[in-house]
Subunit: 440 residues, 2 copies
């Protein structure tokens, strides 16, 4: 990062395969990932399938000194699994949930519960506005009979729409994630040709990694070879994409992938390979003012906005508590229904509970009670899922608002002293995390 | 529309209250709305609560000559109810579904089933890029005990995010819709202060309409006065908002609302009042190139994009047929379950069906069969709802793709003859609808 005209940005992307109890060696792998990220100090880290918020918080604590800025995108029942860590301040975030994402009753595929989405974070990198996107599309379970193809095509369509419409003001666009599509697949072509994004594997000047840039390889010990047929060696489905703008050119100097097991460790980081791209940004023309409207806003307006936002956060928190209470009630009612069912079955099955009566239960009552228990269980289960989704959405909004308040307060602290630049949005960002870090 | 530097744009917004069998005089009112829109010839018509696609198609046919461009935004089970009609070509559309929108079990409030969202359409008005948004937020059923407040605040938050992030490249932004919020409500303040949008009722030079710009008034014969307490005369919850850019200034010269019943008709158009704003756009500086990236794309790339899009449409159509088949199967299975239940009840209730047997049904079988029927009915009902939502999303994507193909073909037809301008995105739009209109 010598000067504002030529900036180097190292981007990392990995599908962490973080399904506790189902993914193998989950905690051990997160530990490895955390240590590697600490050591490598990429500028931007884009993670997918971080299904548990605890794992995100573990990484956040681990990376507190190297990557002071982070965001976890919440969506769906257990999703979205998307996380971003950055050396540079995250000014704004936005999440778009894909309208289609598999079927809830295909529970063994699990995609529906993941609440797949694309997360956007707006970063300031050496005075340049970088729109960074992280996403994960619906998995392909069968190449021959892909019953989710239309869903994935619609996701690719919505992804390109989201990127195209939200990145107009950006100097650079960086996209990382597991697209679950081969480079020549329809969705990939749709995304690339419509947005003008470039594939770092294709564009890179130098490459070190798996053959053909593959990211799901037979040599990874978590991959069963049968899954890859007819692609014996592996497939390329994870990407780091980028594009510049009229003001900024972007190049990929070097790209690498991991190659299965990690040297010095018995395990790979994940069932996917990790991607690293070294991008070089060349800023050519001083950019136009007005890409961030709040930068032009007078201090009193900003202060008013902070007040409004704080009020909104309070309302959302009230809603959060309410949803938590409702979810708790649903869970408690469900447990009571289950207990009732178990008790009934015990009375019916074990004669000693019947206290000597010949016919412990009239049959009609037995079946009616059982039906009632099942109805309670089903209803409370559905309600529990629904309230969980509501909670995630409320938490997600609250997180974004907290981040926005932080960013606004940062700007307010800069009034009027730190406004000496002609082009306000080009003010160089401090490398040190702010003492009054509002992320907590 | 004298010249490109000063353009007048008339915008119309109405919540149509189009719930067949529940809203009063629905068909008659749509006829009135259609006739009025034909006569008034607004540049942009933003409609909410057009719940039935048939009504949209009725209006589309009626307005074919005055408003050749239109889009119906599909979302949720029966929503989103949002529609746009325009004199000017719609180049692009995008839909954002709010992450929270009430509860499915609050069926009498119905908001959840509406799939509330914000729709965006990018129009070219006399060479200016206009981002037009139409939206409808969750209703407020009780001012004192508003259990949906947190949902509405999150919707307002997501609305401002969506507008802010997608409108960076726009010369003007126009928002119309039923926000279900009073002007001083938290969500309204959040939206206005964060986006910098201005309220046409506040900004207008001249106003003709209800007192205080109210849009839900006691004088409307569809409104029961009890609903409005403690606001005896009415409330203002529908808005037309706007903002310009560094290149374009925007003013509101005149604004009007309807005042309950329509002169010469026995009925009002809706339970809400309709809004009309006459906006004046003043373009000051020639805008920067690059707001629409596809404008800079060479013809072969555009043709390739059209091919990819056509392929994507085919895939989505395959998915559509599949979802239709699944929904049909669910409906048929549900009907069979219902028939079985009716038959069983008939046998049990009417002895003559029992063909003379003393005990027509063993009791256990009776209850088991009834439970099975209920389980089938519930499951097929949930599946039917789910497939309906899937269908809507697929249809929505297909609609947007068709529109995009049309817009790209339009550009392709212009190669290389109609590219004589220095600033490509400023090419004046033809007033006549294209002979090869791709909207069908």
């Amino acid at each position: 990062m010598a000067n504002a005209d030529c900036v180097s940005v190292r981007v990392f992307s990995l599908n962490c395969w973080g399904i506790h109890y189902l993914s193998k060696h989950c905690s051990q792998r997160y530990q490895m990932i955390g240590e590697m990220l600490c050591k490598e100090q990429h500028d931007i880290v884009l993670l997918q399938e971080v299904w548990s918020e605890k794992d995100f918080l573990y990484l956040k604590a681990k990376l507190a000194s190297t990557h002071p800025h982070s965001h976890y995108f919440k969506s769906g029942v257990i999703g979205s699994g998307l996380a971003i860590f950055a050396k540079h301040r995250i000014h704004d975030t936005f999440l778009y949930r894909y309208s289609l994402n598999g079927y809830p009753y295909m529970a063994h595929h699990g995609d529906w519960f993941g609440g797949k989405a694309v997360g956007m974070a707006i970063l300031n990198i050496a005075g340049l506005t970088a729109n960074v996107y992280v996403t994960h599309l619906h998995a392909e379970y069968s190449r021959e009979k892909d019953s989710y193809l239309s869903h994935r095509v619609v996701q690719a369509w919505e992804l390109q729409q989201f990127i195209r419409h939200t990145s107009t003001g950006a100097d650079v666009v960086i996209v990382g994630g597991d697209l679950n599509m081969h480079p020549q697949d329809l969705g990939c072509r749709l995304l690339m040709s419509y947005t003008g994004l470039k594939d770092s594997y294709i564009e890179t000047a130098k490459f070190d990694g798996c053959e053909n840039g593959m990211t799901l390889i037979a040599d990874n010990l978590f991959i069963s070879k049968n899954e890859l047929i007819p692609f014996e060696k592996g497939i390329r489905i994870d990407y780091i994409l980028f594009k510049g703008s009229s003001t900024t050119k972007i190049y990929c100097d070097f790209m690498s992938t991991t190659k299965g097991s990690v040297p010095g460790h018995p395990l790979p980081y994940s069932d996917h390979e990790a991607l690293t791209a070294e991008l070089r940004l060349e800023s050519h023309i001083p950019a136009q003012a007005g890409s961030d409207k709040t930068q032009d806003t007078p201090a009193e307006k900003l202060a008013e906005l902070v007040d409004t936002l704080t009020e909104a956060r309070t309302e959302v928190k009230v809603g959060l508590h309410c949803a938590e209470r409702m979810r708790y009630t649903a869970a408690r009612t469900g447990v009571m229904g289950l207990a009732l069912l178990v008790l009934e079955l015990a009375i019916a099955a074990v004669p000693c509970f019947a206290l000597g009566a010949e016919q412990p239960f009239p049959r009609i009552s037995f079946y009616l009670l059982a039906a009632l228990c099942f109805a309670i269980l089903l209803t409370t289960f559905l309600l529990y899922i629904f309230y969980t989704m509501e909670l995630k959405s409320l938490q997600g909004a609250e997180d974004q608002m907290r981040l926005a308040v932080g960013s606004l307060q940062e700007k307010l602290r800069g009034f009027p002293v730190a406004q000496p630049h002609n082009a306000p949005q080009r003010s160089p960002e401090g490398q040190q995390p702010s003492a009054l870090d509002p992320e907590e």
